[in-house]
């Protein structure tokens, strides 16, 4: 009797500290996000008009400014349009290229395959912007500098380097499925279109999602390749150039571009978990 009671006490204590720790963790993750939302309602907008974590006064004016103001340092609607344009097109092209690459690398055995795998691995570990000077010169030569399409080309063409997650997925599709189709006389193109693609819906969604979020929140490449032309700015560059006395504008702009991503992540959480398991790491 006393023993079972002590076990119960122990269990409750265990449950209690677990929940306390979880509460603290949840707070630590939640608070900075909330703080940003609160900050977007600061009345003066400056980070210096705070008492501790909270602004001295509140108003909605920042949110109105965000969408109506057009100054050299704030042109949010245009930036948002640019960001959407780049992210959506990059996502489409990247997904096509990555899926093709991953499928090929998983399904076919050809001579230079292992070499290619090693090379892509080697290239893949270096952030593209390490070669910033080279990219800058190449883009000017291709007349893609200062041009949103240049970014799309760059994101899409670099995407296949990160095919390993998707390849891992294709590796799990047993060869027997393909072999059966092959016996029925389908060629490899037909197999790919009719068998592989329908089987890999989840992976395609995952790929599209990650290749959307990367350009959506990337800062370095746009900063380098948009040449300071403010009509071409993406939200990330625009926000990053905001100064300390425009903090509420920064916060509002941030919250607004974070919302679609957050919604996407939550609605696609299932895909996400699978994708992450297959080897994805947040950039």
């Amino acid at each position: 009797m006393t023993k079972s009671k002590s076990i119960r006490v122990k269990r409750i204590a265990d449950s209690a500290w677990t929940h306390i720790v979880l509460l603290v963790v949840a707070f630590l993750f939640f608070f900075p996000c909330v703080w940003l939302v609160i900050s977007s309602f600061s009345s003066t907008g400056s980070i210096y008009d705070y008492v501790g974590f909270f602004p001295k006064g509140y108003s909605f004016s920042t949110w109105a400014d965000l969408f109506t103001e057009k100054t050299p340092s704030n042109n949010y609607p245009v930036w948002l349009g640019n960001t959407f344009y780049v992210a959506i097109l990059s996502s489409i092209f990247s997904t096509v290229l990555v899926i093709l690459t991953a499928y090929t690398m998983s399904r076919f055995r050809f001579k230079s395959r292992k070499t290619m795998m090693k090379m892509t691995l080697l290239f893949g570990i270096f952030p593209n912007f390490m070669n910033m000077t080279a990219l800058f010169v190449i883009m000017t030569q291709l007349h893609l500098f200062n041009n949103l399409n240049g970014l799309i080309v760059l994101y899409s063409c670099s995407a296949p380097i990160g095919y390993l997650t998707q390849k891992g997925f294709f590796d799990t599709i047993p060869n027997s499925i393909y072999d059966a189709a092959r016996i029925d006389g389908a060629n490899n193109l037909q197999v790919f279109v009719k068998m592989t693609l329908p089987l890999s819906k989840a992976m395609i969604v995952y790929t599209a999602l990650t290749s959307f979020t990367f350009p959506w929140s990337d800062f370095i490449l746009p900063q380098m390749l948009l040449g300071g032309n403010k009509d071409n700015y993406t939200v990330a560059i625009g926000l990053n150039e905001m100064t300390d006395d425009m903090f509420s504008l920064f916060a509002a702009g941030s919250v607004f571009i974070a919302v679609p991503i957050v919604l996407l992540y939550f609605s696609l959480a299932g895909f996400l978990v699978n994708g992450v398991a297959a080897g994805a790491v947040k950039e």
Binding site: T18, L22, G52, L97, T104, N128, F250, V262, Y265, G279
Partner: protein, 454 residues
């Protein structure tokens, strides 16, 4: 003796080539003379014409621009222009990149050429053996079937060559030039051999900077990977505990943090930790005036490093938690029951069961995380924006990693950009992380046993 051997080894491919031409058929010889000729002789007219056109196109390219570009790669320009006087000159930098491109085209053509000779020989042998020779249509059809990989890979490979390989080659080459904002077009850039490396390892302020940065870079890579990995694992285990109610809700908070774009969280945290920011305000409220900490200021060292680690953990733990959660869900529950029966306590179960399993399953990811952290540009860039010339550092601060330093040398830090030296630093990063990851990858079980799943 040794030289002899080397010479012989060097001669071997040529001897092999000689033997090939002695033994091969007329078709192969025709194709060697003019691409596609052998194919036409073999009866593959369509293929032959395409190959011939390819050769003509290549020759046209080479005569018109390729040869000039190739020479330009070596000279990097001979006439210096003066835009003030309106004298057009050579642009060393575009010459460099066009030169590299011409080499890539040349190599591609050489590959096509070899394939073309081989193909002519193979088809001829096939015909001799009395087997049917593929017509043009059939050849095209193989592209959708046996050689489908050719079609699917063409675009990705071209893209990667142009936007990844070409830039990397360019970067590597600039490390051997005196390219800087002071020696840039219209001025002529020239090859200086290992001059940049010499400067990097002899100039006093560079040497001391590189030493300090490398030291922190290694500590950072280890600690940040450790915190994010075990932070994520612990959190996943905690939420997985039987007694926890509403697991989805608890998981939602980290996922929220995961979804917010990284640069936003980092800039947000920079404000939080700024001099008179909320965190310091809190410290002062709690422990009085003296408690405030010099977190991210220019000459701050360990406080800044701690903040960087903390923020990085915040940013990376959610992904790591998701990963651990999904790995744990694949784990065999029976083992725990057996362990329970054997009287193993929670800690023992964690150390002897959970950890080895998760560790093994996530090894490749752990490696890539480590390398990702080694080259984690964003943290120092966003948290200490504009903090460049800290005391005791040349164009860097205490939390900068090699990759940040490279960026500062090439772009940031005021007026002068040292592209050549920055490229030398990138070669350094290439070598360090490249070696590490190649070893880790080649020795990893997933690479060795790639085909065993099937």
């Amino acid at each position: 003796m040794r030289q002899d051997k080397m010479l012989r080894a060097a001669g071997e491919p040529f001897r092999k080539l000689g033997r090939f031409f002695k033994t091969c058929g007329t078709s192969a010889k025709c194709s060697a003379a003019l691409m596609g000729l052998g194919q036409i002789r073999n009866g593959q007219v369509g293929k032959g014409v395409v190959l011939m056109l390819a050769e003509i196109a290549f020759l046209a390219y080479f005569v018109l621009v390729g040869a000039k570009d190739l020479i330009g790669l070596f000279t990097l320009g001979l006439t210096e222009g003066d835009p003030i006087l309106g004298i057009a000159g050579d642009n060393s930098i575009t010459m460099l990149i066009r030169g590299v491109l011409s080499v890539i085209v040349l190599l591609g053509m050489a590959y096509l050429y070899v394939q073309n000779v081989r193909d002519a020989e193979k088809t001829a042998l096939r015909a001799q053996a009395g087997r049917p020779v593929n017509g043009f249509r059939q050849s095209l059809r193989t592209l959708l079937d046996e050689k489908f990989y050719f079609v699917t890979l063409a675009l990705p490979v071209a893209g990667v060559l142009l936007f990844n390989v070409l830039p990397i080659v360019f970067t590597v080459l600039t490390a051997f030039t005196d390219y800087s904002s002071n020696v840039a077009p219209p001025r002529l850039v020239s090859w200086i051999g290992f001059g940049n490396f010499a400067e990097l390892f002899t100039k006093v302020s560079y040497v001391s900077t590189i030493g300090k940065i490398f030291y922190w870079n290694v500590i950072w890579a280890v600690l940040s990977t450790f915190f994010s990995y075990f932070g994520g694992l612990c959190l996943a285990l905690l939420i997985n505990k039987k007694c926890v109610r509403g697991k989805t809700v608890w998981r939602a908070f980290p996922i929220l943090a995961y979804a917010v774009p990284g640069f936003i969280t980092m800039i947000g945290f920079r404000y939080m930790f700024s001099g008179m920011g909320p965190i310091n305000w809190l410290l002062v409220k709690l422990w009085g005036e003296g408690a405030s900490v010099d977190f991210l200021d220019i000459n701050s060292v360990w406080a800044a490093r701690a903040v960087c680690l903390l923020v990085n953990t915040w940013v990376t733990v959610p992904a790591s938690m998701l990963l651990s959660t999904s790995v744990l869900s694949n784990m065999n529950k029976d083992m725990y029951e057996a362990a329970d029966l054997d009287g193993a306590n929670g800690m023992q179960q964690f150390v002897y069961l959970t950890l080895p399993f998760v560790f093994f399953a996530t090894m490749p990811i752990l490696i890539s995380q480590f390398i990702g952290n080694f080259n984690n540009f964003g943290i120092s860039f966003f948290l200490r924006r504009g903090v460049i010339n800290a005391a005791e550092y040349e164009r860097a601060n205490s939390t900068d990693l090699l990759i940040n330093w490279l960026y500062n040398l090439a772009l940031g830090g005021g007026s002068d950009n040292y592209y050549g030296i920055a490229s030398a630093v990138s070669i350094l990063i290439f070598v360090i992380t490249g070696t590490f990851s190649l070893i880790a990858y080649v020795t990893s079980p997933s690479y060795k046993r790639e085909d065993t799943y099937k």
